[in-house]
């Protein structure tokens, strides 16, 4: 310990004379850090390239191939020649070999599945945001039993979506508890309206807690004394909400909505297990899987590429028009969260 102070002191006496050196040291430091960073990041980049980029490039290439190119006997891919844009035309322009797709085939379901996907997305995101906000406001208050509230909110989140789907499928069974409780006799999964409603209810139950937790994190960053000051100034509760809470929670809220939206656009588990895509509940993901199952890999590739592009475009619109900078917000909120 006695020798300890010396190096520190020496360093201190060294410093003052060398202002230029300091800059250079900083510069060199960044350079070495950059080198270290690329070493640390390279493995992840390689892994993600293998598990994401490679399959996607493969899918895009396949989407321009004819499906006849697949040898059904050997299961091996035999170059079946370029299909040009035929696979994309098949979905978007509804062309099935020169004629328009007959109703009932998978190809004919493209636009309706786009509609279903967006319907589910808009409905669930709006409901989950509104209810989630309400939940977050309650969770942010201090009262006895808050621990119980926060714990019970995590339960739906922890239950796997596949289990959630089975559970609500049972609740919505014809003789199930939902019909018995409300004295109704609805065939929940039997027609479009109730089937969609059932799926939305299940999704809201499962995912609203997650939304509430994200919004709660945003609410907790707002310092309490702003509210106190506003109260002293005689600002009404509603004004406090619209003038203080909303603008301050907006960045966290928008990021939460963005994540939820992109997640809802790839919805698969709930409709697949609850209705199997029947009665106008076929989402894009379900349609892709059905196309794979019918053995048309290349046209399925085209459809999954379309799905990917749709999600990408929605994300782009969000970032462009709502001015969300997910990267920056999450970077900043990470810093502010500790308090």
């Amino acid at each position: 310990m006695s020798t300890e102070p010396q190096p520190g002191a020496a360093a201190k006496t060294d410093r003052p004379g060398s202002g230029d050196d300091e800059k250079e040291i900083a510069h060199r430091k960044e350079a070495t850090q950059g080198r270290a960073a690329s070493l640390l990041i390279a493995p992840t980049t390689i892994v993600l390239s293998i598990v994401i980029l490679y399959p996607v490039v493969l899918a895009v290439i396949q989407s321009f191939q004819k499906d006849e190119g697949l040898d059904k006997a050997t299961g091996l891919f035999v170059a079946g020649g370029s299909a040009g844009l035929a696979n994309y035309k098949h979905w978007i322009l509804q062309q099935c070999g020169g004629v328009s797709c007959p109703p009932g085939t998978l190809g004919a379901q493209f636009w309706s599945s786009i509609g279903t996907t967006f319907f589910f997305t808009v409905a669930t995101v709006i409901l989950e945001t509104a209810i989630g906000f309400g939940m977050a406001v309650i969770m942010a208050r201090t009262f006895r039993g808050r621990g119980l509230l926060r714990a019970s909110v995590l339960v739906p989140w922890a239950i796997p979506t596949a289990v959630t789907a089975k559970l609500w499928f049972f609740i919505f069974a014809f003789e199930g508890i939902a019909n018995k409780t409300f004295g109704t006799s609805i065939l929940w999964t039997g027609s479009a309206g109730p089937a969609r409603a059932g799926i939305i209810i299940a999704d809201v139950w499962k995912t609203t807690p997650f939304m509430a937790l994200l919004i709660l994190a945003g609410l907790q960053i707002i310092p309490e004394d702003i509210y106190e000051a506003a109260k002293v100034d005689g600002v009404t509760a509603w004004q406090r909400f619209t003038q203080i809470t909303l603008p301050l929670v907006k960045p966290a809220l928008l990021v939460a909505i963005l994540f939820r939206t992109l997640d809802a656009l790839r919805m698969y588990d709930l409709p697949q297990i609850m209705t199997g895509g029947a009665n106008n509940t076929t989402t894009l993901s379900i349609l892709v899987v059905q196309e794979i199952r019918s053995g048309k890999y290349n046209s399925a590739s085209a459809l999954s590429t379309i799905t990917f592009i749709v999600i990408f475009l929605v994300a782009l619109i969000f970032v462009k028009f709502l001015g969300i900078n997910a990267v920056e917000t999450t970077t900043v909120s990470g810093k502010g969260k500790a308090k």
């Binding site: 300890e4 960044e30 850090q33 950059g34 960073a37 640390l40 990041i41 992840t44 892994v47 993600l48 598990v51 994401i52 399959p55 891919f77 309650i138 009262f143 039993g145 926060r150 714990a151 019970s152 909110v153 339960v155 739906p156 989140w157 922890a158 796997p160 596949a162 289990v163 789907a165 089975k166 609500w168 049972f170 069974a173 018995k180 139950w205 997650f210 937790l213 994200l214 709660l216 994540f259 992109l262 997640d263 790839r266 698969y268 588990d269 697949q272 297990i273 993901s285 899987v289 794979i292 890999y297 799905t307 994300a315 997910a326 990267v327 920056e328 970077t331 909120s333 969260k337 500790a338």
Partner: protein, 297 residues
């Protein structure tokens, strides 16, 4: 409340005071009502699952709101392989796939997160954006090419056929959460340890590792849960041998054709869910921190 203030309170109790206090009481009553509503809404369906799991098959649609006709038959049925269900094997499969996916994701994720949280370099935002985009990637876009690729490689029915696509969502998630944990760590302690005579390795082992452990642990839990809950990829890229729990539950069949064995399914669902719920409740604080830090499911 001390007697002095109590005496003061009773004396000049003006109308304004009473009104303010009433309003406060009214407000807290409202809070309790809403809180109770939320608790009921969140717990009732899960409660119903457990009630049904313990109920005799003959009373599947009984609407009695509490435990009645209690039996363990459903759990026996859930584990039975007589009707082609393999819940035990599915549990083992989910565990294997989940653990390996989590370990691989942590292995790669820790280094990248350290770089993103601690080092200054130009491409930082680009890398972060790339990882964010990766975490939003639709699973179905991977299933199409991988289904064909793995069929050709004869990999359908192997663990790697699940683990490889699982890494595509677990690794970005891991990095995302770890970065925000690492950013909040008191890294100056590392430097003080160095000044106190620790080597770089010692400082890492004695100071940084114990500090980082809770964050890494939380991340591991979240990565594990996300792969335990995955359904789309598992339903397409597994077979009977590698079927995971979510697929097993979704395709659970009873002895009677075209008749859902609801009570047995709910028993299986309870078995799959209970460990998860216990884990989540025990590590509640960490999980909420991890969830909101990463802002990803």
């Amino acid at each position: 409340m001390s007697t002095a203030t109590a005496a003061q309170d009773t004396k000049p109790e003006s109308h304004a005071h009473v009104r303010a206090r009433n309003r406060k009481r009214w407000e807290s009553a409202r809070t309790y009502v809403f809180a109770a509503l939320i608790v009921f809404w969140c717990l009732l369906p899960a409660y119903w699952m457990v009630v049904t799991a313990f109920r005799d098959v003959g009373f599947t649609y009984d609407a009695t709101p509490f435990f009645s006709h209690v039996t363990l038959d459903n759990f026996r049925a859930a584990f039975s392989t007589a009707t082609g269900n393999h819940l035990t094997r599915a549990l083992v499969n989910s565990l294997i796939v989940g653990v390996i996916t989590t370990i691989i994701s942590l292995l790669f994720g820790i280094f990248t997160s350290y770089a993103l949280a601690r080092l200054n370099f130009r491409a930082k935002f680009l890398v972060m954006g790339f990882i964010l985009a990766a975490s939003m990637f639709p699973g179905v876009a991977l299933v199409t090419p991988l289904f064909q690729l793995f069929t050709n490689l004869n990999w359908i029915g192997t663990y790697q056929a699940l683990i490889i696509p699982y890494i595509s969502f677990a690794l970005p998630l891991t990095i995302y959460i770890l970065v925000s944990f690492f950013r909040e760590m008191p890294w100056e302690l590392e430097e003080s340890a160095r000044i106190d005579g620790c080597t770089k390795a010692q400082a890492f082992r004695k100071i940084i590792m114990p500090l980082a452990a809770p964050g890494v642990f939380t991340t591991a839990i979240l990565a594990f849960i996300s792969s335990w809950n995955e359904f789309l990829i598992a339903s397409q890229l597994s077979n009977q041998q590698t079927q995971t729990v979510t697929v097993a539950i979704a395709s659970f069949t009873g002895s009677q054709p075209h008749q859902e064995p609801y009570t047995a399914v709910m028993a299986a669902a309870t078995i799959v869910t209970i460990p998860l719920v216990i884990m989540v409740l025990v590590f509640q604080r960490q999980i909420v921190a991890g969830l909101t830090a990463g802002a990803v499911k």
